[in-house]
């Protein structure tokens, strides 16, 4: 096994959640998103992000508006819709459950080891 692959697999599914978290803050366009997630220690690439944003938009969780760029072609700025905010709440809960699951499994291990 490859730990990098395992980490990549862990990111899977997280990504949707993280992007919605980020966009709940304010509107971002793709390059910004990549930069901001990188700062938060999550590496994402274009080939991952564009299809994901399109998917979330098609599901009505995101919307976008075009904005002029100071240099270059216009940008799609994405924001969270009301529906997206609803779903985000549920993902928050789901994430909390996962954290709990790992915590439980870890605690049990510690109980037995010590």
């Amino acid at each position: 096994m490859n730990v990098d692959n395992a980490k990549s697999q862990m990111r899977k599914g997280m990504l949707e959640y993280c992007i919605m978290l980020l966009l709940s803050e304010k509107a971002y366009y793709t390059s910004d998103i990549i930069k901001r997630l990188k700062e938060a220690n999550l590496l994402v690439v274009e080939g991952t992000l564009y299809p994901l944003l399109t998917r979330l938009k098609n599901d009505g969780l995101l919307a976008y508006e075009w904005q002029e760029s100071p240099q270059g072609p216009p940008r799609k700025y994405y924001v969270l819709t009301d529906k997206g905010a609803e779903i985000l709440k549920q993902l928050d809960a789901a994430w909390g459950e996962l954290e709990n699951t790992v915590r439980q499994l870890k605690n049990r291990r510690l109980l037995i080891e010590n």
Copy 2:
């Protein structure tokens, strides 16, 4: 979008980690693993688990030994190998990073909202 699907996607990749966490505790066979993970709030089914265990065994992270069952056919009890324990450490770190990422994204949101 389907929140259940999103949750399922979140579980992806986590599962490997959780199963290794569980097996770091002691030897389990498949039905036990499903039961224990269910108690930890993580629903897994046979069709997911068997291929995963086989994969981890082929990668040398797990080993198994047959044990008689009080009723029915013998069972494969899986344990973590030394190599598996090494990898588990790395997955622990990876998980910690993901928790941090989400925490950062959440904090920023809170800072802006309030």
